[in-house]
Amino acid sequence: MSQLKLRTPWALLALMTCGSAFGQATITINNTDGAGEGFNDPTPVAPIGGNTGTTLGEQRLIAFQRAADIWETFLDSDVEIVVNAAFNPLTCSQNGAVLGSAGAASVHADFANAPVADTWYNPSLASSLAGVDVNGAQAEINSQFNSELDNGCLNSGWYYGLDGATPQGFTAFLPVLLHEMGHGLGFQTFTSGTTGAFFSGRPDIWTLFMRDLSTGEQWVDMDNAERVASAINDPNLVWTGPNVTAEFPNVLGNPAVLTINSPGGIAGDYAVQTASFGPAIPEMGLTADVVLADDGTGGDVNDACEPIINDLTGAIAIVNRGSCNFTLKVINSQNAGAVAVLVANNVSPGLPPMGGSDPAVTIPSVGISLDDGALITGNLPGVNVTLGYDTGQFAGANGGFVRLYAPNPFEQGSSVSHFTRDANPNLLMEPSITPTIFDEIDLTLQLFQDIGWNTVEDLIFADDFE
């Protein structure tokens, strides 16, 4: 099975539909910032990464409009979608920051042409289906993003480029915005995962497509206690919509796996977390001896946060998590000759998240558990491994369906309203924001079809058979 899955970049789809009579949605950005701030900030800046704005406010607005353009290209609606948008000073420190938020402004049921009665829909979808603006003058989506980032409260600030080439130390704006706008357009349930209660006594359209494989029951047929249990029942909470289910084999690849070939006493397959940066593991796999990286300095000489002093030529380096970005560890190992990197967790249980972005990374890397890292380093030298794929599975699927995120304990704001973190390649609507996903919406298109959206893809397909 190929690891190279066909995706439809926004620019390609835009080209396919250019000049046609498709009923693409119109998404209007309603700038709610005051004079001289947010989208109206007059601070001069240099154009960057395809963003031609020459003030901070212009660049913010151009990036926002690009996200809207991408969603417009995929969705079909004759009713304008209005997004209230603002940059505000939100929580931010050197330990963390709120990047932004978005969501539906209202919910609607039993409107004209509602596909399912007695069921809540978000206003963008409800208006599209009804053919009229169901919430009148009110915006369909509310959103706000953190202006404090550009004051250096967390790192070097937002990157407003449109090219996905986020420099080290910056936070990519477009991927965050594309993700949050997806929630506002319908990637969100209003059924509580902590009480199991429907919103105001009735399910939303999202809830109709959730099933627990342990019991075989759909969420809509469960009682509150059963929904609470299901919301933390990873990996058994799945999406049963027919469009996602039919399409995921064309999108998801096989899960990456680390196989220890020798010594025989520890040989076997071990779970890994793929990185959001750098190249994918080669389809044919990558086999080499493992060498522990040594940077000779700092509190942990094996954390690879400084230039490596031992020779890693041709080896798969193993390094410890902590003290610096994942990308720096991989670049330092790469500079010492490594062909791939294993980052061993420094907490247990679980795998390092392997997030980050740096175009300078040219070798694959994965995270492994604390225990597995200790097992490997305890058997050095003489550990030979293969980084490859388990061809018997789809990464992020279970029982023929795509998994939803359902960790235990429940994570408010993450659980249930996202695809699983385990999808490979990463998906736009996983709880982890992938900086390199800035121009495609992958399986979210099919999920939107499942909940009732008419899409431009439907129109192209219909047009082919006219």
């Binding site: 330990n95 938020s101 539906a104 993700h179 990873d234 990996p235 977390q273 994942f326 998240p353 709880p431």
Partner: protein
């Protein structure tokens, strides 16, 4: 569930409407970390308290969420690394660790 009814004019739609007061059932568990604006506070709020179900003349119903039930993206510094994720505001903080990535556990070990 406590339900009270009243007639009002839904101004934005120009429709006579029947409202239903949603009960004080709440799922709010948030303890925001230094929220800076009322908008931020509203967005964190996951409570249905005070939200009204409006019944319109055409038989449809709607609820203005009043800025609540928003989805958040956050950045957290964990072990010197910035991790970006979509989760609730109350989980932001230096002591918070992401839940483990739930990839399949070790398989085929000999």
């Amino acid at each position: 569930m406590k339900i009270t009814h009243k007639i009002l004019l839904a101004g934005s739609l120009g429709l006579a409407a029947l409202t239903t007061q949603v009960s004080a059932q709440t799922t709010q568990t948030d303890k925001p970390t230094e929220p800076k604006t009322q908008l931020e506070l509203d967005a964190i709020n996951q409570s249905q308290q005070g939200l009204e179900v409006v019944r319109h003349a055409d038989g449809s119903e709607s609820v203005d969420l009043k800025g609540r039930f928003q989805m958040f993206s956050v950045a957290k510094v964990v072990n010197g690394e910035i991790v970006y994720s979509c989760q609730n505001h109350d989980q932001l903080g230096p002591d918070h660790q992401h839940g483990p990535a739930l990839v399949a556990t070790k398989r085929g070990e000999k």
